[in-house]
Symmetry: D2
Subunit: 295 residues, 4 copies
């Protein structure tokens, strides 16, 4: 398939590389010369603008840092995707942005005759490189089926969440809960330690009890509980605290627009903001435990 790919950063770069490996032809665009260079060496064709990418492609994927970039890349009158894409060509945005912008882009695309799917991912840079990402997809069923082979080239799981925007909703709701439960595990582990129970013992009890969650079982923030967790290697790798902070911002903002209180979510956001202010935003998000005192 002739695929267009716009946004070759930490996530987009390896995703594009995997599509090439899967045998697709790629036309790409990015603002970074270095990223373009690497893509060219891997076999991609370079284009001069999002518009030019779109003109050359049977499907277009975008992977961008934030909603402002997504709006510009799709909607710019001169050189945006919608200015160049042929009617009927499906468009996929895998950026993590707010659901309202996703819906707005989707409407603009459909107005020009282009199906649109929001398809944010989970799995991080490691998943992008290994081709094991999960795609949370907002698309009608027909489009979802059409896009399966494209997602397959970059990930292992794809789940249809509903109509346009629901991919983003699923992602921010999941990550809201993830942040809250991670902080909950941090508080429980530090409280237990302060009170005098062995942290490993506490973790094993929680993990067979009602407190168990992904953050306690797989990514426990207390060091040396889960050998493969970032906490056991100095909070490196994993899902960066500043990225979690970005997702919490999306969740809390979306909640505001929906007039939906999210007490815990807002507190989580402030705790990650404090972590980031202390210069720890580059650590894995399980490093939030550092706000709760020394070991």
């Amino acid at each position: 398939m002739q695929i267009g790919f716009i946004g070759l950063g930490h996530m987009g770069g390896p995703m594009a590389a995997n599509l090439l490996k899967a045998g697709h032809a790629l036309t790409v665009f990015d603002l970074s010369e270095g990223a373009l260079d690497e893509a060219r060496k891997a076999g991609a064709t370079l284009a001069a603008s999002p518009c030019a990418v779109a003109q050359a492609s049977d499907v277009v994927i975008t992977m961008l840092p934030a909603a402002a970039h997504v709006k510009a890349v799709y909607l710019n009158e001169d050189d945006g995707v919608l200015a160049g894409v042929r009617p009927g060509v499906p468009l996929i945005d895998s950026s993590t942005i707010d659901p309202a912008t996703a819906r707005m882009i989707g409407e603009a695309a459909r107005a020009r005759g282009n199906p649109f799917a929001d398809a944010p991912v989970s799995g991080g840079v490691v998943g992008a490189q290994a081709g094991t990402l999960t795609f949370m997809v907002g698309a009608d069923e027909a489009l979802f089926e059409t896009l399966r082979p494209v997602f397959s080239g970059m990930g292992k799981n794809m789940v249809r969440c509903g109509e346009t925007g629901t991919g983003q909703i699923a992602k921010i709701c999941n990550n809201l809960l993830l942040a809250i439960s991670m902080i909950g595990v941090a508080e429980a582990m530090k409280l237990g330690e302060s009170l005098g129970i062995d942290p490993g013992k506490l973790a094993s009890i929680v993990n067979t009890s009602t407190g168990r969650c992904w953050s306690s079982e797989t990514c426990n923030p207390y060091p040396d509980i889960v050998p493969t967790a970032p906490a056991s290697r100095g909070y490196t790798g994993g899902f960066g605290a500043d990225l979690m902070l970005k997702d919490l911002g999306l969740a809390v903002d979306a909640a505001r627009q929906a007039k939906q209180p999210v007490f815990m979510g807002a507190l989580a956001q402030q705790l990650y903001q404090s972590m980031s202010q202390q210069g720890l935003g580059g650590l894995d998000f399980s490093g939030i435990i550092k706000l709760y005192g020394k070991g």
Copy 2:
């Protein structure tokens, strides 16, 4: 075995009944005539005081509402357990109380030559009736092995958490995390609903992703996601919000004494306090979702 049992309430009543069914001889005490009557009919011998229970028993179990009762039952000079128990007889407190009081009682017991285990339970009234409770036990290894047959008569799992007090620590840390993750699930589900994703779809995505936890998988607070969950039967049954509020109080108080901040835990406590103030404290603790607006 000749077992003494003090405290025949919602939990203690069925626990005592199961010990009788398991073939043990029971001497019991409670302040409620009704509870005593029922125990007598089930085959227990009544005693006139905790002291009298202790005098007649080879092991004593207590199951009481709060630390004040535990202190009185063990330490009262006239008629407390320690005033009557023979040296060497092991003592088990299955009440949920603060770890400091558990340790204090343990020391008082050992000073008189009696091994002491704190052994709070999880599983609720349903688990107490079905004999499927989990015991979180603070005891040395020898004592833990000695007590196995006693716990077996009332539950399915027993886990040794460490020395005296660690049973209580494990329980309050687990329940602190449980409250936080339950509220996190409530916020994520209500946010998703507000933004327009199908709640069942959102739950299924969360449950295969990093947000998954016991509260999302087994006890989802959104109605009709998990058919067996209290949320699907009007928040009846399950673990009452006022009981969760009690446990959060223990956790936050223990944190205070340890000078350990628990930001999320304190917020959870206030949210449950608000729920209780609104007259909803008798509902299952997943009913906290009602604070987040109508469906």
Copy 3:
């Protein structure tokens, strides 16, 4: 003076009327026919666009609901203020918006040779009608002095906060604190009532002690403590909860961009969001006390 006024809503309408009363000539623009009609009757000249207002004026004032409107009114290439204003004409934005947008507009204005002041107000609709507003002004000293007579036509106090953007900063920081202290008073009053002290007695003690603040002295949220407070007339009049919610949103967003944690501010935002979700957003912001249970 020949003044241009854009935005004739609940605030802008009476502000414009007061400028007319003060003897200034006004050219106005608004999207509402009704508002324009009223302005015309009061003696204003109508213009067809922000651009047309600017062309006709020696100073331009804008009073708009949010940053998006401010951007459009100033920057639209066809019909925006900057498209029509003569170089040297000073521009005043009295909307409450984020400091970053204020600075951006200020730079765009200066690039065209126009001095710009951000000058959000406090005092509400009542102050706008009575001509007793306070202006918090971000402008250099020369501009501030130039604009004094304009502000005098609409308000009683004007304070220079620093360079462009600082008017907005002062307003959102003050209102962040105002929201927090109002909720603090609500909690203290309700706690006192629950514990059994006479609320009037408690208020009088607080007001002569270290807890005293504008929210306890002048706008006490407990009914019938301060006869002139909205709480004593069913929480009508005053500063609407939904407006406070908007200002908290600006404060928390600005904090996010500055990576500055605001734990209490974020909690205040969620509490006002909950109030708004319950349909109480039209009440005075002191109505937050209703979240703390019945009297």
Copy 4:
């Protein structure tokens, strides 16, 4: 008057000294030899127990660290105040404790024929030394009038808050609000600084606007805004953060017993707990601003 004084610590010591200076005869008790020695040198008569103090006095004042001490000093059967006091002798407890214990002590006293007043103070060690304390008094009117001369020997203001327990209620409600507004000021000042307004300018605007409060005007937590504030001398002197933490604990606990949510109060408690955990509990409570990042 023949006054008994029990508890000669940081507060009680100077209070007793001032009573001596005012010409009263004092019989005193404390556990510290040093404190007793100092009192003896100042002219006090030493007694061997609270009971002995009470036997020798026409009025008894206690100034103790916490409720447990108050209970022991009044209620101990062997050597407590109530074991020795003559009927009719009024009793004053100036400790800061929970209202429920104050009421319980009051009932025990009245049962023996002794009027009882809870009379916690504000003003700190500085006020105790200078004799400028404020007494918040829970007592009926007749008792309040009777005790005026006693309070006058130690302070400048005395306010009757209502019946027994209301003195404590007034104090914890005021200090709950004080903690919240102090943190609110800290957040507003740090946000303003982060966004680029001059902190002194911001403070002056807030202090003439709706954000003004004792914490912004008199004890501003930002350094060098208020020259006489602890913030301008390294957060020394003033009201220690650990003492505020104690009072917040009383407020949040009392709220729990009343099933009264105090969201902000609970968050304030955790923030002070974090401050204390970081080893800063000895600073003035305005030092909470240190949690919000470097200047």
